[in-house]
């Protein structure tokens, strides 16, 4: 702040304190001006009375001059504002019903948008909680020049991380971490949990201080150090009752014991959020993974770093890319990798970088759609309030005219009405923020919202959120207050004291502002209705999706053979399956890896023998009975057997792939080449499976391949699928059975295939559902708005209609004319709304599920139902008017 500004502020403050005196002085000064002017007149030979009169009339009314002086001086601003506020309170109290409705409907609009913002903000913008100076923390990603947008979605392998760390000069420190699901014993309890492996400098680099104990440090992350672990605050609370004795207890992960040395602070949830659960335990990298595994080139991990003070993202990125050839060893062979050789590095701020880059776009476009719809809802409610205020403005013509005639400037009148609408909006935003808190708590209860963990400890009204709500508030009050203010102050006092409004019957093409607004309201209602209908259609399609197999009565569980020696695992698998299929109630049992719709996770590389390049192909490794268990069938050939030939050289394809590669040809016996990790082999097609998807592509059947379950040797993890005749007690009896087969075999995460499928489509389902709800709220708001505006407009033109009746017009004729006018407005609104709505929907096509946006039936339905609503809304009030006795009406007014 400059010295001049400070001086000015002090002056204004002083003037504010003595503003009463200034006001009195103003009067005296003006009187002295007039006296001086009168003296001049007397000197020119006028009588004192004449001079006095002329001087006064030249100066104009004193109160008016004073009012315009007050307008330019800041010390009177607060008085004026206070006056406006008091006036506003009086007016709103007089119209309590209106104030209540307005506040509630605008609050709903504000709450809808703010809830969407709360989640978008938490997922796409906020930095991870409790990190010191989060704006200096970044994530590193590798990408490829040749790909669109360079696709920065490749993580660094450990050798690359070490190479870069030794040469870079833009970061204070670099750290890596990795998340995985393990089975852990804590006391007597054995359960699967998410853990994070972190490098020794992880916590010090982030600046995260432990709640109790100490954080994992570099000394813990050395080969040979004794196992140390930190646990999350929530885990501490739920499993250890927040007792400090937790320090020193051990957690067994795999075959290794870790001593709990500290608890992470409350609210700390790691970096990434696109994982179903937050980590419960943190262990040092070198304790968990063997040095050999760490130096493997194929293993890659998320890398985070802290920028040196004063270094910005662009500088860092430019500098790092100079080291790209040091980081990525030119001799490194990418042939065996599932990605192509990266040649670019990107530095992404951790603020907003909590979702992996390839998921981020999908999530943000989803939020854009939701936000657009909720803003429409807000607009609908603002229009409701706005058109009511316009109605009031014309009803308050007299009040305004009197104020203007008494010297209020036009600016002042506008300010007064704007103050009123701002007061309404502020009340609405207070209610709206409360609603936001409630609604987002409800939204958080929806399990696995969007397939992510969006927030840690529930939503809170952060500064961002409050600012957003306030912005909406001001915007809203402007939208619904400004037009009425202009209208109320537009005409000269003289015109305003007379009655002049655009009527229904003889106004030709002229539209009153309210008629324009009514048309706009219809337009918005149509846009919202189209959105709602199309999303509802999409939702219906999603729920009725055909996965290509029959998921009822199929149960799934994860089995973990991590404690069983590698060479005995295959036998345990086999014993488990045969025991399961012998047990009563189980019709058929199979193993697979990964889950039936996670085929993209395995992503074997696939090509035909003559092709130059491999490409990614979703795939599953399955046992013999898999197809039978899931209720799909082979249309040709046979399932896998346990034979060594099948394991090393057989493949089963789905019909989508068969039709694509060998249309019209016999598929059995065709040769393919498949690479799975480092295992590459020619495989012969031995079977074709009927339509089945093994990835989570919902829109259509995608090509996919099936490999024998042992194709990668014995895995430590598997998914068991059971088709049962009776769902009751499946989990318990299977657990018992597994314990009998081998006590070291762990079984967890039981769920039905149906539940699993439902989870997979949860993001699409929830977003479509939210959109439909929002649109419905919007349509209801605008329908109420249209009806009330129309009926009050007709009511206000009672006099006009009564005059026409008195002059001989029949009531049917009048009714027809009013309806005709209303009909025209509706048609304009419906047409405009349909055009806008369709354009918007075209843009959102990729979020819709098998819905043809131009679906004529759908549009016709929406249009027709709206026309009916509009018809009823205009007919009822119009009829009641047409029935009245003109004589009585004209006398009353």
């Amino acid at each position: 702040m400059s010295l001049r500004a400070i001086r000015k502020l002090i002056r204004i403050l002083r003037q504010f304190i003595s503003r009463r005196q200034i006001d009195r002085d103003m009067g005296e000064e003006l009187e002295s001006f007039i006296a001086a002017s009168a003296n001049e007149g007397i000197r020119r030979g006028l009588t004192p009375e004449q001079a006095q009169q002329i001087a006064r009339s030249q100066a104009g009314p004193i109160y008016r001059v004073k009012e315009s002086i007050r307008d330019v001086r800041s010390e009177f601003m607060f008085d004026a504002l206070w006056q406006d506020v008091r006036h506003g309170v009086r007016i709103l109290r007089k119209n309590r019903g209106f104030a209540f409705t307005a506040v509630v409907s605008v609050a709903i609009g504000i709450a809808c948008s703010t809830v969407v913002f709360v989640f978008a903000n938490a997922m796409l913008y906020e930095a991870p909680a409790l990190i010191k100076e989060p704006d200096r923390v970044v994530g590193l990603w590798l990408g490829q020049r040749t790909k669109p947008d360079h696709r920065f979605d490749i993580q660094l392998s450990n050798p690359q991380f070490e190479a870069l760390r030794s040469v870079q000069d833009v970061f204070d420190d670099m750290a890596l971490y990795s998340r995985t699901t393990v089975v852990a014993n804590v006391g007597d309890v054995t359960e699967p949990m998410n853990i994070e492996m972190v490098s020794g400098n992880h916590f010090s680099m982030l600046g995260v201080m432990p709640a109790i104990g100490r954080a994992i440090g570099p000394e813990d992350d050395k080969p040979g150090a004794s196992g140390a672990a930190m646990i999350s605050y929530d885990f501490w609370q739920t499993d250890f009752g927040r007792r400090p004795e937790v320090l020193g207890r051990t957690i067994r992960i795999g075959s290794r014991d870790y001593t709990i040395i500290g608890v992470t602070p409350r609210g700390f949830s790691g970096i990434m959020i696109d994982w179903y659960e937050f980590p419960k335990v943190w262990v040092p990298f070198h304790q968990y993974a063997s040095p050999a595994a760490l130096m493997r080139r194929g293993t890659s991990n998320p890398v985070i770093a802290r920028l040196k003070p004063g270094i910005d993202l662009v500088t860092a990125e430019t500098r790092l890319n100079q080291f790209i050839n040091v980081t990525i060893d030119p001799s490194e062979d990418y042939k065996n990798s599932h990605v192509d050789r990266p040649d670019l590095m990107s530095v992404a701020p951790i603020r907003g970088g909590r979702i992996q880059p390839w998921v981020r776009n999908r999530v943000s476009s989803l939020f854009v759609a939701l936000m657009a719809v909720s803003i429409l809802v807000l607009c609908a409610s603002c229009f409701n309030v706005g058109s009511f205020l316009i109605g009031q403005a014309s009803a308050r013509r007299h009040e305004m005219a009197v104020r203007l005639a008494l010297g209020a400037t036009r600016k002042r009148v506008i300010r007064q009405i704007m103050t009123e609408s701002l007061m309404l909006a502020l009340m609405a935003s207070a209610v709206g923020l409360t609603l936001t808190l409630l609604l987002s708590k409800v939204a958080l209860r929806i399990p696995k919202l969007f397939g992510f963990v969006p927030l840690y400890s529930g939503p809170s009204l952060t500064l961002n959120v409050v600012l957003f709500a306030l912005f909406l508030t001001f915007a809203a009050s402007f939208v619904f207050g400004f037009l009425p203010a202009l209208i109320a102050s537009r005409r000269s006092p003289w015109n305003m004291l007379q009655d002049s409004s655009v009527g229904w019957i003889h106004s030709g093409l002229r539209l009153s502002p309210r008629q324009v607004l009514l048309t706009l309201q219809v337009t918005f209602a149509v846009v919202l209705a189209i959105t709602g209908a199309i999303y509802a259609r999409s939702l219906y399609n999603i729920v009725r999706i055909d996965p290509g197999f029959s998921p009822d009565h199929v149960w799934m569980a994860t089995i973990n053979l991590g404690r069983i020696p590698q060479d005995r695992r295959e036998m345990v698998d086999r014993e488990l399956l045969s025991a399961a299929s012998r047990s009563p109630g189980v019709q058929s049992a199979a193993l697979s890896w990964p889950r039936p719709s996670d085929g993209a996770m395995l992503a074997p590389r696939f090509k035909l023998p003559g092709d130059p390049d491999f490409y990614d192909m979703p795939g599953l490794m399955v046992t013999e009975n898999y197809f039978q268990t899931l209720g799909t069938r082979l249309t040709a050939g046979r399932p896998f057997t346990d034979s060594i030939e099948d394991t090393s050289s057989a493949v089963i394809v789905n019909e989508a792939l068969a039709n694509k590669l060998w249309p019209g040809k016999s598929v059995i016996g065709q040769m393919t080449r498949v690479r799975l990790n480092s295992n590459e082999a020619d495989r012969q097609v031995i079977g074709v499976v009927a339509q089945a998807n093994c990835s989570d592509h919902l829109r259509e059947m995608r090509p996919c391949i099936y490999l024998p379950f042992q194709a990668l040797g014995s895995l430590s993890l598997g998914i068991v699928e059971l088709r049962v005749s009776n769902d009751a007690k499946t989990a318990d009896s299977f657990r018992q059975l597994a314990r009998e087969v081998n006590p070291e075999l762990l079984v967890y995460d039981f769920k039905t295939l149906e539940d699993h499928m439902r989870e997979r489509i949860a993001p699409q389902r929830i977003s479509a559902f939210a959109t439909v709800i929002l649109a419905l709220v919007g349509v209801i708001l605008s329908a109420i708005g249209c009806y009330s505006v129309f009926s009050s407009m007709v009511r206000e033109s009672t006099r006009e209609l009564a005059l026409h009746m008195a002059l001989g017009a029949s009531s049917n004729n009048l009714l027809l004319r009013v309806m005709l006018r209303a009909g025209t407005l509706c048609v304009i609104g419906v047409a405009a709304g349909s055009i806008i709505g369709l354009q918007v929907m075209r843009r959102l096509q990729d979020q819709l599920f098998n819905v043809n946006v131009g679906d004529a039936g759908l549009l016709l339905g929406v249009g027709l139902s709206l026309v009916i609503v509009a018809g009823v809304a205009s007919f009822l009030p119009a009829r009641s008017i047409a029935k009245t006795d003109p004589g009585a009406v004209l006398k009353v007014i």
Binding site: A36, N39, A59
Partner: protein, 108 residues
Amino acid sequence: LKKKADVLQGTMDLLILKMLALEPMHGYGISQRLEQITHGVFRVNAGTLFPALYRLEEEGWVEGEWRPSENNRRSRYYTLTKSGRKQLSAAAKYWDTVSVAIRQVLEA
């Protein structure tokens, strides 16, 4: 581009500041002197003059002070402040540039 009202307002400010640069004056004095100097072209009434004067005072360019005047009345006399003087020379310079430019356009 400035709007018409702003230009007029700026001109009004310039004229008042210039009047006060001659000597401290009260409101009526300013309007009288302006009318004399411009031979009746600029006649400002109270409704235009006082809002402008009070705004200039708020800017800190002029300072008001009560002094006795003729016929036993108090009048508020306005004096140009230091920053007012600066503002006057800046505004005058700007006006010169603009008026020369306009003249050139009109004579072109």
